[in-house]
């Protein structure tokens, strides 16, 4: 029990993530594909008072990307920054050790921003496929038309009474990030809504 391998992080949605196809899958395949990105390193970055520019410059120096504009996200080589509120961002990366991103950000931002580790607090669900937009339309008041919510757009919204952060990662691909405690309930709602399009859990 105390062996190092037990340090594997447990996946919040594991009892629901059964690979397969569900609902009304038509001949040309499921309308929606669902998967969970895990494990991820996630941190909230909030600029300190009057230090927004300094923070952005330091991000650019260290990660090659400046803080995105409101309602946008930006992809770097090793880091993604997503706007999630006034002067607030999610920094997301994969394949880092426990707490490494948090420590990194704290040291490189040199007090220009407050950093909080959220790696375990949020669950990120990938929704893709030609019915992905139609699916999200059933839950969120955000306009997901590509003119209004183009590639790399980001928004805070609500779906099924749950706060969700949405980003568009490709033409027909979105990421939904929400508090982990809601994830089972949200998954049940999401998959129920996806049944008419047919969905595949990847």
């Amino acid at each position: 029990m105390l062996s190092p391998t037990s340090l594997d992080r447990s996946l919040p949605l594991k009892r629901h993530l059964k690979q397969g196809r569900y609902g009304t899958v038509s001949a040309d395949g499921p309308g929606v594909r669902l998967s969970v990105r895990h494990p991820l390193a996630i941190a909230t970055i909030i600029a300190r008072k009057g230090q927004e520019d300094k923070m952005s410059a330091l991000l650019e120096t260290h990660y090659g990307i400046a803080a995105p504009q409101p309602g946008r996200m930006v992809k770097g080589k090793e880091l993604v920054l997503q706007w999630c509120g006034a002067d607030q961002y999610f920094a997301i990366t994969e394949g880092r050790g426990e707490g490494a991103l948090y420590e990194d950000l704290r040291s490189c931002l040199q007090g220009s921003a407050s950093v909080s580790d959220q790696s375990h607090g949020r669950v990120v669900i990938e929704v893709s496929g030609h019915k992905a937009r139609a699916l999200l339309t059933k839950g969120s008041a955000v306009d997901f038309h590509p003119r209004e919510f183009p590639l790399e757009a980001a928004a805070m919204t609500q779906m099924a009474h749950i706060g969700v952060h949405v980003t568009r990662t490709a033409e027909d691909s979105f990421e939904l990030s929400l508090f982990r405690g809601f994830s089972e309930h949200f998954w049940e709602w999401l998959t129920e809504q996806a049944q008419e399009f047919g969905y595949e859990v990847v």
């Binding site: 105390l2 037990s6 426990e98 607090g121 405690g181 949200f186």
Partner: protein, 984 residues
Amino acid sequence: MSGHRLSQGGLIDRSAPLKFTFDGKPYQGFRGDTLASAILANGVSLVGRSFKYHRPRGIMTASSAEPNALVELREGARTEPNTRMTMVELYDGLIAKSQNRWPSLNFDIGSINQLASPIFVAGFYYKTFMWPKAFWEKLYEPMIRRAAGLGRATHEPDPDRYEKAYAHCDVLVIGAGPAGLSAAVTAGRAGARVLLADEGPVLGGSLLYENEEIDATSGSDWAQEVVAELVSLRDVTLMPRTTVFGWYDDNIFGAVERVADHKMVPGPHEPRQRYWRILAKRAILATGAEERALVFGGNDRPGVMLASAVRSYVNRYAVSPGRTAIVFTNNASGYRTSRDLRSKGIRVAAVMDSRKDAPKLDSGGAPIVAGAVITRVEGGRDIERVAFERGRGQERLECDFVAMSGGFNPNVHLACHRGAKPEWKEDIQAFSAPRNGSRFVAVGAANGSMLISQCLREGAEAGAQAANEAGFRSKAAPTPLTKDESYNIKPLWWVKEGSSKAFVDFQNDVTAKDILLTVQEGYRHVELTKRYTTLGMATDGGRMSGINGSGIVAEATGKSIAEVGTTTFRPYYTPVSFGVIAGPFKGHHFQPVRQTPLHEWAEENGAVFVETGLWMRSSWFPRKGESDWLESVIREVKATRESVGLCDVSTLGKIDIQGSDAAEFLNRVYCNGWNTLEVGKARYGLMLREDGIVFDDGTTSRLGEDHFFMTTTTANAARVMSHLEFCHQALWPDLDVQYVSVTEQWAQMAVAGPMARRSLQKICENVELNDQTFPYLAAKEIKILGGVTARLFRISFSGEHAYELSVPADYGNMTARALMHAGREFGITPYGVEALSVMRIEKGHVAGGELNGTTTATDLGLERMMSKKKDYIGRMMAQREEMTRKDREMVVGIRPVNQNDRLRAGAHILSKGDAASMENDQGYVSSVAFSPMLGRWVGLALCKRGRERHGEIVQLFDGVYGVHLEAELCDPVHYDKENRKLYA
């Protein structure tokens, strides 16, 4: 009346016959029929009984405004009462039943209500209140309940799914008739995102049944071409079977899409209906106009129909309502109907035009009787003749159905949902849509434009303007060539000649005379008339009756109808099912459920869960052989107090607070001070509301010079977060402080009891736990289990030597299991919120029962926490006279005098010898628990001057449980008063 199917024509598919039953009798119709058209084609004219008088009723309209033809559709759990036959698309196997009749539709005992009709005059319901009280309960109420009524709802759960969805568009077009199609295609061609909604299954509106010619093709062909073009446009969405029911702030519209109502059972995974919220940059009202009934004797009999409905049945469904028609009209619509009937070979005995100076119009060869009004419709079960007057005394003429037209009422309802009143238009004698600015404009008949050319032109212009305003470049195409039929009208609000009942509101059985009586009795305002008579309060929302009602009120009060106006139009435009309003959020999905990161561990240990707010919390952990929760809880408390217990406290709100002004921020939001808190230490904090009442409490730790970790109560977590946001953004934006919820990042567990330290030590990596390295209120980051970063706090809610350990959530279950393993030799015991609560009551710690939004810090015995050295939220208001009154209810301990008595929360406290009355009330018991350590019930109470009264014997009175016992007020700390265990 002998309705029948015409041998040809109509937009029905004669190759697709469909079977259905009505009141158990089998019939046949075709694909494309409505239930109404199919039943008419089968020669059935009587389909229901009226609400009050149980009069026989037939089908009056071909639209969603149908007041009479309400049936119970489907069976079992899918039973749907009060369904309008005109809105039901026929499907194979359809089952419908008539309603409000007993024992049968043809022989209905309730129809004797007609004989008692003097009782049922306007305001009858209110008048019954004036008679002896005993009459109300015993006679009137049961009688009215039995007599009045519509269909009956099922008690079975609805087996179908309902959904909600959002839509966004540049231009929303409501109604797909000539004006709506013209608007949609114009805006769509410009590239605008267009949403075209229509309540019918086929787009086309009046073009589906009117004989129109547009650009040398028939109206319905033109509509099909336009629809085909709309389908080809990428950003145009067509929404047939969708009723836009309401217009709300910021140009948001509500709509219901009947996804599968036209099927026996929805397809697999298909919702029955979908509730849309449509956010429209611009919207166009193209809802057309509803024909107005005429008010004359017997106008409610089966076989009396709107003239436009007759055209709809004849032209669109190839059904004639009978063999011989009489048309009664005050405008051009009657002539059009006469022509259409004649062209199908159906006899028209006469067109009776109420206008003496009626313009010469083409009736298709039928005789025209000018200046004539029908006074009475006569016959047995079927109509046989009408009695009419044209100034030569009463005359009679035979027919078996009547087509009537009193003009047209533009469907303006949506345009009035945000408060604007419709505008009277003298030329069409109708109320037309008000001006609401360019975000929502009315076109075509909804705008009072009665000519087909006007509809097409206004639609195109509005479509172009809306697209332009939404940022596209659009220009209206030239209006297609049409043959306009002139429209003129002379109002006829009711036919005063004749004595038989002339109905204004068919569904609620309100007659013209009811309205006159109402005006006589003083209810002269149209809104009062409505409420007194129930005019316009039926499921048709007054669409058939409202304007005629206003007309009659105008005549009776000597005002103009423009002065009288209309009643207020509110959503919903047509009835909306509760199922679709609830959507998917019912049962288990009514509200979200939150699970803690230790849920799996709790399940493994057999937890019984309880919903606290949205959270599922482990309540207690029953073991084999335990008979009830109390037994488990007693064991859990004893194990914890005697050795060690483990409790999931992850639901506490956790807020990460950073910034150079973080300490100052805390100083202002908490009533106690924070400047002196050392790094690595935790402190209990008390937060007041602005009004000086206690808001929340919790421990906050200093992790770094400018880094704090705040915890809140589970219940107030979100509220505290919003409070912090408000304080920072609105009160002190100058502070450099950042805060974010990290509730879900951390799994948090309390490890409590004399063996807590030894259990915990086994999983710690880099720290030796003792009173020097980890004294009471220490708060430090440590490593556990070979490298997991954790936060350890030596704090205690139980009064034991205790810790709270936070680990990143994904490690929660693993850590709890490791602790169980580590504490096995000490008999470590999981405990739930029940045991947690018992221990805090034993220790006199306040919680929800005492932090109830009415208590001050002093009331709670926490006055020493209120700093005198600084300002904070609530300081000033907490000093008000009322808040510092000496006889306020204060927290006190309470225990029954008789050791075996049980305490109950909520019991009132009375001084010894006082009677149980409000004047003598001294307070109440706020929290109770059976104390396993003391072997008796103990509690906390809020009692007047409680702190001065320790030792006093009082009475407890609980009227709900019938409890009356003696109890002693005492120190709230029932157990370990010296706090020896905390520091042990």
